[in-house]
Symmetry: C2
């Protein structure tokens, strides 16, 4: 492509509204233009990047016999209420006849609807299907460029299996294919647990690209590779030798103590012996949640455990009514019978622990389960935090990190099929529900995440598999006819060798050309100028390197083929 | 691809609602599934066909330095009122913040909006840009399958030029690229004039695939290649020697004569001497349109000439009021002064002609322009019909045909740019409007049109460049382990040779496999069975041919590479 004919100018200044490096650089280098909040034109360079990434996904899935189709974005009213991917919203519109149509949401509703006629018996299973295309979502946030698109490029793979074993195999296949793509893009990412089923087994994973600017919080263990979204992350706490002897419970007066540190010091016990008891108003009444004093309650986990829609800290007046005390002195001992009591696993093994006395200014010490208060329902109710021990291995400690969610794997099991009545006739017996899996990569977000991880002060540094072109041929001194002829000849030669090349044939100063080149971020730069021409050579510089070398065209081609395959 | 894992069953029976061969066959062979009226899933075979055609378009445009990007479908409110392609309608929706968004319409509004910041001076021109992607249109008709999709695959190319000459060059380039694609798809099509500018020059062409089932009416001249949509088609009429002597006008009574034939016979004149005068209610009053008796009034041409929005035959009461006669006796002589009179060119040269006398049962004969009625405004107001002489050449006569509009070329000139204020700084002088062109191929319609032209009673007969696969490897007698092994080995060999192959490895009867194969329509069929295996050969049959031959694998590969490139 000749840059003199390219549509998409580079911008001298940073756009005001761009908050992340990716947003800023993709705007400045002419990759995207905003048309409306969350709606972009993918300019020619971006189109190339996205098509390259889409090509990687398709190749990986295709090689594993996943079949590509194209599901529509418009869907009829009866498939409207179907849940889409998390965070996404359906647009709803009316056609000229007044019929409602949905636009957006996950493809699984449409696929399950079609599959009802395509899947008859166990012989029609398994099926593995995918699509790569534009999808819509009425996002609440639209400020982070390609991360928050309302019209975005999505790769969606679906599996239809006869049972749990098949679903697991499909899940493994999709996971391998998607992770191969992420690795190929040189992305630093985690495959994080994103949702736990009732049995504690992970039913949903999220691919999260590590980025300070991302809004997804993670915990991760470097020792074993475990990672999870913070809201579902699990950890172990350090445990300590317990008293051999059970002591009598007593109430101590400790007025005005704020926080577990001062409290522990005042009483003369370690912090892990203290207990935080929080009272929540849930869908159906008041819930007390107890965690070790050195932990925080994870409301998401409590909500998931209770299966409730609403969960909020109880009003101080309610707390006063229930406990007879001000906020800060609630404890498990002597709560009214109607209150559900949940306690974190790590409160369990303690002997002679502390908890609020349900009396303003008072704390109970030497409290013991069973004797002083009934055994509660134990579970994982604490937030996993940096420094906690990993729950999955013996060695690691968790660290916290932030990232951009770029996709995920969901084992829907039979839920999606049940909604639309997708069953198959088994080898024996009656109709059985189809097991579905849904596996996604948001290619718009992925391209932004790659830039977020691959750039420097001067611009983007594309990894080869995502780059819009492999070579940027920058021609200087074009006013010299001999140099121009040589530049044109080099361009022709590169095209002949099937090199993906952007040819800067513009009438512009060298400084402008080089800074544009750094901004655009093509992996290999070849410069031809009066000087290099006289020497019969080109200057070759890798975007990722600070040094350049003088090479012949043949040497340059060798280097390019080695670097770009 | 293994057919045992393919998603998309063939149907034994013709679907009830399918009215065209393409709709029927694409449903039966599992290429499309309807989700809602005008909304389809493009199943795996269809996805392949559409991607192949999209690839052809992209390759043609790319080879001519058109740059590919991706414009969004969602557009903000201020780009909503912008006209889209004819027949299309914008969907309008509200997002979660209550803002209106448009979905659909031509991409030129969005492109012009972007270009305002990308095009500064004449140095930034010309630009040639295209996209291939899913587009939306709130179609009124949704019954003809892929022909009437509300979510369809569209290739749209745009040119931005500094002036008329540049626009013409871009138009030629797009025309050449698109026609190369249509020829490659072995489509019988016409590039028909679709709209005439004020100077009579054609500003818009439509690509129309010839098909009896199509709803676009054309006239075409086989001698010179001229063709046009019927509503803008032009023709010449045979002219006749006129009387040397001008006779006095007289009124003759001819009660109850219906039609120009009986009238001419009654009066004793040729039909071409009679005149049809129709009265219309237009936006601003009554219009009389006169055409030769052997012609019909083309209301579209009248509307275009007047530039009016509404045009309808005047009410009989109005006609009575204006002419004092019942319907059927209107004529140009003695019409009230307020009536605009238009007359077709071919009424002009006549001497002593007939026209209605504006008196029930009476006709004027020996009427002459100037003497008996003022000279009207002459123009092209008649419908061009089969048998008319071609207006563009001396030899041909027009014939009428029907077809499916699959795309078009529009020279927007400066209209689109003017709407959004897209100008550039010329080499000298102030800002000048950018000249735009918009060139489209509707790939959904195109794929249906190809099937409409390439099928027989048994199924589709894809031309190679559109086929989902090049080879259908049909394996019989798979219960025989040796045959199965040989079939698998052949499949492996074909993949190795980069042949696009569908492998029918299903447990099904030979009859079912062959009828499915004919239905799906892959160009080359290779059959392996116990018999062919024993002979160490395969049976090769072209879908387009009725005979087959016994060949070795090597011979088969040679034939395939020769046929499929």
């Amino acid at each position: 492509m000749r840059q003199s004919r390219h549509f998409g100018l580079t911008l001298k200044d940073d756009p005001r509204d761009a908050r992340t490096a990716a947003h800023r650089l993709l705007l400045r280098a002419g990759y995207v233009r905003q048309i409306a909040p969350g709606v972009h034109a993918h300019m020619p360079f971006m189109r190339r990047v996205l098509d390259r990434i889409a090509g990687l996904v398709a190749a990986e899935l295709d090689a594993n016999s996943w079949e590509q189709l194209r599901l529509p974005n418009l869907r009829p009213e009866d498939l409207l209420g179907y849940p889409g991917p998390p965070d996404g919203g359906n647009f709803v519109l009316k056609d000229r006849r007044g019929n409602l149509l949905g636009l957006g949401g996950g493809g699984e509703a449409v696929l399950a609807h079609i599959a009802k006629k395509e899947i008859r018996s166990h012989k029609d299973l398994p099926r593995r299907i995918f699509q790569v295309g534009i999808r819509f979502s009425d996002e609440a946030r639209t400020r982070r460029g390609m991360v928050d698109e309302r019209e975005f490029l999505l790769a969606e793979a679906f599996s239809l299996d006869a049972g749990e074993e098949g679903l697991k195999a499909s899940h493994r296949a999709a996971n391998a294919a998607f992770q191969a793509v992420l690795k190929c893009l040189e992305l630093d990412y985690r495959c994080a647990e994103a949702e736990l089923g009732s049995g504690g087994e992970c039913t949903q994973h999220a691919f999260v690209a590590v980025a300070e600017s991302g809004d997804e919080a993670l915990v991760a263990c470097d020792a074993c590779g475990y990672s999870a979204l913070s809201r579902v992350g699990q950890s172990r706490l350090e445990t300590f030798p317990q008293d051999a002897e059970i002591k009598p419970m007593e109430a101590v007066c400790g007025p005005g103590l704020v926080g577990v540190g001062p409290l522990a010091e005042f009483i003369g016990i370690p912090v892990w012996k203290t207990t935080k008891t929080l009272l929540f108003a849930a869908d159906e009444g008041i819930v007390a949640v107890m965690v070790r004093g050195d932990c925080d309650v994870d409301e998401d986990k409590v909500k998931a455990f209770l299966g409730c829609r609403e969960l909020a800290l109880a009003d101080p007046r309610v707390i006063m009514e229930l406990t007879g005390a001000e906020v800060g002195y609630a404890g498990g001992v002597g709560l009214p019978a109607g209150v559900t009591v949940l306690a974190d696993h790590f409160t369990r093994e303690r002997v002679n622990f502390e908890c609020g006395a349900n009396r303003t200014d008072y704390h109970n010490i030497n409290v013991n389960w069973g004797r002083d208060l009934p055994l509660p329902t134990f579970g994982d109710f604490k937030t996993a935090r940096a420094g906690d021990l990993c729950a999955r291995c013996d060695q690691g400690r968790l660290r916290e990190m932030r990232g951009i969610a770029v996709g995920g794997l969901v084992r829907l099991r039979t839920s999606a099929a049940a909604t639309v009545g997708l069953t198959f006739q088994g080898a024996s017996g009656g109709p059985q529900p189809v097991h579905m899996g849904a596996f996604r990569l948001n290619l718009s977000r992925l391209s932004a995440a790659v830039v977020e991880q691959h750039h420097d002060e001067s611009g983007i540094r594309w990894p080869v598999p995502a780059a819009p072109f492999h070579v940027h041929l920058v021609a200087l001194n074009l006013e010299d006819a001999a140099v121009r002829a040589a530049a044109e000849e080099t361009y022709r030669r590169l095209l002949e060798e099937k090199v993906e090349v952007l040819f800067d044939d513009r009438d512009a100063r060298a400084g402008e050309k080089f800074s544009d080149s750094d901004l655009i971020g093509i992996p290999v730069r070849l410069t031809i100028s009066k000087r290099t021409f006289r020497e019969g050579r080109l200057e070759l510089k890798l975007r990722a390197s600070s040094s350049s070398e003088s090479v012949t065209v043949e040497k340059a081609l060798k280097t390019i083929h080695a670097a770009c395959g």
